[in-house]
């Protein structure tokens, strides 16, 4: 609407300027040019010859010859009839012309233009377009930017979990190392780096990942993720004596509603029993099926979804885990609230599509 109004305004100004130019200048006395400009030209040429002759640039004989030529030209001009007709234009004719301009202008624009489409400069639309973008586009965008600006901490922070999710673990490792270079080391980053290297090694925690997890746990006494890995490592190696206090310490950190708590408790029981599952597998399976049914039919919190995916994975039901993961993504399209789930999925080889 605003576009049309402004267009109307522009047209009105242009046509008014056109109309008044004709009216005012038409009324005023005719300018000098109206009267035989060729004769004016000849007279000025004559003056030039006189000037040149007095300045000595032209000999008297040449000047005379040049003047004679001009005289012949002037005689010829005298006989030429006037070509222009002096009467004014009829107002209806002027009106018709102006109307034609407006109609043609609006017609052409109406056929070609998109008056209702607002401008969208890059600066005013940072979020909207991100949502409409698919993951590959987003990654290449961010990569292009990082190539320009390799010191962009935010870029590296955003892209690292995406790499994990895409299974590009070496790239993820590089991205996390860049974060550490740029912004210093933290327990979270050490753990992230450990995860990336672990996945790169095919899930093997030996060597570097393990020392990173231990360093992270030392750095932050309340850091549960690194401790989870350390405890898992001990359990997997069958070192149950070491594993039990590790699991107990980890569970002590929990507030009670964490999605990993149920797994930690199960693992503690497992370690305490010296490697025999406390609950029967079928018992666990029934519990998980119940949770699954509830979530798929009635929905649930993101933590519940994460717990379901984790449980399916623990039970080795990769296909079911994948289904649950996709359903969770559909229920929570905003990536920022499901970071934990995405990391879990990435670690376990689940895919986003």
């Amino acid at each position: 609407m605003l576009t049309w109004l402004l267009a109307l305004l522009v047209t009105a100004i242009a046509l008014a300027a056109l109309y008044f130019a004709g009216v005012t200048r038409g009324v005023n006395a005719p300018d000098a040019a109206d009267e035989a400009p060729e004769r004016v030209h000849l007279r000025r040429q004559l003056d030039e010859i006189d000037l040149d002759a007095t300045m000595g640039r032209l000999g008297p004989a040449e000047a005379t010859a040049a003047k004679a030529e001009l005289a012949r030209e002037a005689i010829r001009l005298k006989d030429a009839p006037s070509r222009t007709r002096p009467e004014a234009l009829r107002p209806t004719l002027v009106g018709l012309g102006l109307a034609l301009v407006a109609i043609l202008g609006f017609g052409v624009y109406g056929a070609l233009g998109r008056p209702h489409l607002p401008s969208s400069p890059l600066a005013t639309r940072p979020d909207k377009s991100v949502q409409n973008m698919n993951l590959d586009d987003a990654v290449s965008q961010i990569e292009a930017r990082l190539k320009q600006a390799p010191d962009d901490l935010r870029g590296w922070t955003v892209i690292a979990p995406v790499y994990m999710q895409l299974g590009r673990f070496a790239d993820a490792e590089h991205a996390i190392r860049r974060q550490i270079d740029l912004d210093g080391i933290t327990a979270d980053r050490e753990t992230d780096l450990g995860e990336a290297i672990m996945m790169k090694q095919g899930g093997d925690m030996a060597n570097e990942p393990m020392s990173l997890f231990e360093s992270a746990a030392n750095r932050d006494p309340a850091h549960w993720r690194s401790r989870y890995y350390i405890a898992t490592n001990a359990t997997q190696k069958g070192d149950y004596a070491a594993a039990v206090p590790l699991w107990e310490a980890l569970i002590a950190l929990a507030k009670g509603d964490e999605s990993w708590l149920i797994n930690a408790k199960a693992a503690l029981e497992f370690a305490k029993s010296g490697g025999k599952p406390q609950m029967g597998n079928d018992q666990i399976a029934t519990m998980v099926e119940g949770l699954s049914e509830r979530l798929f039919s009635g929905g649930g919190t993101i933590d519940e979804w994460t717990r379901l995916v984790r449980s399916r994975l623990v039970l080795g039901q990769t296909d079911e885990a994948q289904k649950a993961y996709l359903a969770a993504r559909a229920a929570y399209p905003d990536a920022s609230v499901r970071t934990e789930l995405d990391v879990l999925a990435a670690d376990s080889g689940l895919v986003a599509q």
Binding site: L89, L104, S119
Partner: protein, 655 residues
């Protein structure tokens, strides 16, 4: 919104131009119409200016809802290239083309108040007709205002070769030249319709011819220098069809400049001048057609869309065909001009015109022949530099030989021997320099010393004209100096332009005949010597640009006099398009240049390096600067020109 308003302004300009053209062609005899047409021309300029500004604004803020910005811009591009990207593509460059066209129209309207009203009405009507045709072409086949919804997040980047300051300078200058000749065309057509064709007409056309010619000269020279440093081939002219497309109007325009001079001063060559005015703009249109239709592939071929080609071809035939039909119908009613003897200033200028016209024709044939042959027989041939060098050179050589004589001949009838005598010292000096150069370069037999001889002859001949007019050595030095300062600007400008041409010729000959080239692989730390210059390779480092990554080489050049300089040629890879470019490093020593280009890196850590030594190469462009300066000088000369004839001998005797 800005974009949509720009789109509307552009559409309204189209409507206004269409109605102006119709009204002007139908009612040109009505003096009352003129002020409307003048105002309409100025409003067209304001509207197209607003539309152009809206595009620039959209590019600056990276509004990728504009399809053009999405396809040719990138958010990380530096500001200058965001702006120049507007016309670094087909659609946007059409807007620039049209903008310059309406600027010219508005200038005619503003400065043409002393013109007869019927002539002014016709000129503005035809100018509007051309504007309407190209506004319509832009809107309906190459609309730059198309939108995308939803807007994409990022653009595709401008062609890296175009990401250069050259894009800010070359196209606007070149278009100003091309499009400026449309004014001459409009004047010619108006003269044919109204029958007003005399010395006064030539006086009114003069500034437009001069302005267009000067801009075209600068535009071509700038394009040549840009190609020289950006394309990395070390060449400055390739006889590429697109270069020819700009060169042909220049040749025809140069002829027009000279024949209009005869017409203004002597009322002669009227019909020929009108013919040249039509030809010159027709060649500009032909150039536009060849570049835009996609029948050529080159750096300039932005978009290869056959539909556009057909539409331009139709416009081309309408304008050229219409103008020549008009010419054929009206030529009989035009009064032939004054008479003159074969040996006279007029005669010399006719010779100049014939040679320039034939050289334009030779270039036209060489450019179009492969296209026509391809269209008719499907056979693909390429007409290359040897053809052009030979034919063009063969026509230019006689032109350069007689050029210095022209200004010494008097109007109407002249004394050839007298003129030749007054040029004797210039000829002797030119011969001396040429022989000196021949001896200094090892006395090897080639065409080069002859070429140099021509260059010196033209340059010194131009100085000789000034010296002669100042009566140098025929009177005291002080009197000569006073006379020299008192010379009319027209004398200064023609001498300056001819001197510039001589300088360019010297540069062309020297840079072509005595350039040295070295292509080699260098390991870091090793060096190569070319023409006395030692080039040490320091190695390659990686660097980040705003929207590209570059391998930057470091060379230390030791000149024969011992001076050291650092040169850094680059190879760039642009992020968005992935396209590589090379950035040559050019070091200027006096008038000569050392040109370094970094080639492919080799697996063994060495790099391919190409080095040229180009003696006196800058004279080529310095010469064109002289010519352009002469154009501006002549443009500043508002005086009328009268060519006083040399009285017939018999009559002088009887007087």
């Amino acid at each position: 919104m800005g974009i949509e308003l720009g789109h509307f302004a552009f559409s309204l300009a189209f409507a206004l131009a269409t109605v102006s053209a119709l009204a002007g062609l139908l009612l040109w005899r009505r003096a009352a119409l003129t002020p409307y047409l003048q105002q309409a021309s100025i409003i067209q300029f304001l509207l197209v200016g607003a539309a152009f500004a809206s595009l620039i604004q959209a590019f600056i803020v990276s509004d990728f809802s504009l399809k053009l910005a999405k396809e040719h811009s990138f958010s990380a591009q530096p500001l200058l290239f965001k702006i120049t990207a507007v016309w670094g593509n087909h659609e946007g460059s059409m807007v620039l083309w049209v903008l310059i066209l309406v600027i010219m129209g508005a200038a005619v309207a503003a400065f043409g108040r002393n013109l007869p009203r019927d002539l002014l009405s016709l000129v503005l009507a035809i100018q509007s007709l051309i504007a309407a045709a190209f506004l319509g072409f832009t809107l309906f086949t190459s609309n730059p205002f198309l939108r995308l919804d939803p807007a994409p997040f990022e653009g595709a980047d401008l062609n890296p070769i175009l990401q250069d300051i050259g894009l800010a300078i070359h196209p606007p200058l070149l278009y100003a030249g091309y499009v400026g000749f449309s004014v001459c065309f409009s004047f010619a057509a108006a003269a044919l319709i109204s029958g007003r064709l005399d010395a006064a007409w030539a006086r009114w056309v003069r500034p437009w011819t001069l302005l267009s010619w000067t801009f075209l000269t600068l535009g071509i020279a700038m394009g040549s220098y840009w190609a020289y440093y950006e394309l990395g081939w070390g060449g400055w002219w390739f006889w590429d069809p697109v270069e020819n497309a700009s060169f042909m109007p220049w040749l025809a325009g140069t002829a027009l400049l000279h024949s209009a001079l005869v017409m203004e001063k002597r009322s002669a060559l009227k019909i020929w001048t009108v013919f040249l005015a039509i030809i010159t703009f027709s060649l500009s249109l032909l150039g536009t057609f060849m570049v835009r239709s996609g029948i050529l592939t080159s750096v300039h071929a932005f978009a290869t869309d056959p539909t556009r080609g057909v539409v331009i071809l139709i416009l081309l035939s309408l304008f050229i065909g219409g103008a020549f039909a008009l010419f054929a119908a009206r030529v009989g009613t035009l009064r032939a001009g004054g008479l003159f003897a074969p040996i006279s200033r007029e005669g010399a200028l006719i010779l100049n015109n014939l040679l320039l016209a034939s050289s334009a024709a030779a270039v036209l044939v060489g450019t179009l022949y492969p296209l026509i042959l391809d269209a008719l027989t499907g056979e693909t041939i390429s007409v290359g530099a040897p053809f052009f060098n030979l034919t063009f050179g063969a026509i230019m050589a006689p032109l350069l030989v007689v050029l210095p004589l022209g200004p010494f001949l008097s109007w109407k009838r002249a004394d050839f021997l007298g003129a030749a005598q007054r040029l004797a010292w210039a000829a002797g000096l030119a011969l001396f320099f040429a022989i000196l150069a021949f001896a200094l370069t090892g006395a090897s037999v080639s065409l080069a010393p002859l070429g140099l001889l021509l260059g010196f002859w033209v340059a010194l001949g131009a100085l000789a004209e000034l010296a002669d007019r100042a009566h140098l050595f025929r009177t005291t030095i002080m009197t000569s100096l006073r006379r020299l300062i008192g010379l009319p600007k027209s004398a200064w400008s023609s001498a300056l332009a001819h001197f510039g041409l001589g300088v360019s010729v010297i540069g062309i000959v020297a840079a072509t005949a005595w350039q040295a080239e070295e292509i080699t692989t260098l390991a870091p730390g090793s060096s190569v010597t070319i023409d006395g210059y030692t080039v040490d390779f320091g190695g390659v480092t990686q660097q980040q640009g705003p929207n590209y990554a570059a391998d930057v080489a470091s060379f230390t050049i030791t000149a024969p006099d011992g001076g050291k300089r650092i040169a850094n040629p680059e190879r760039r890879a642009y992020t968005a398009s992935g396209m590589p470019t090379t950035e040559a490093a050019i070091e200027t020593y006096g008038f000569s240049q050392l040109y370094l280009q970094l080639g492919e890196p080799q697996t063994d850590g060495k790099s391919v390096v190409r080095i040229w030594y180009k003696p006196f190469v800058t004279l080529i462009w310095i010469g064109t600067l002289f010519m352009a300066a002469a154009g501006f000088l002549s443009l500043s000369n508002r005086r009328l020109r009268v060519g006083a004839p040399r009285p017939a001998r018999t009559r002088v005797a009887t007087e």
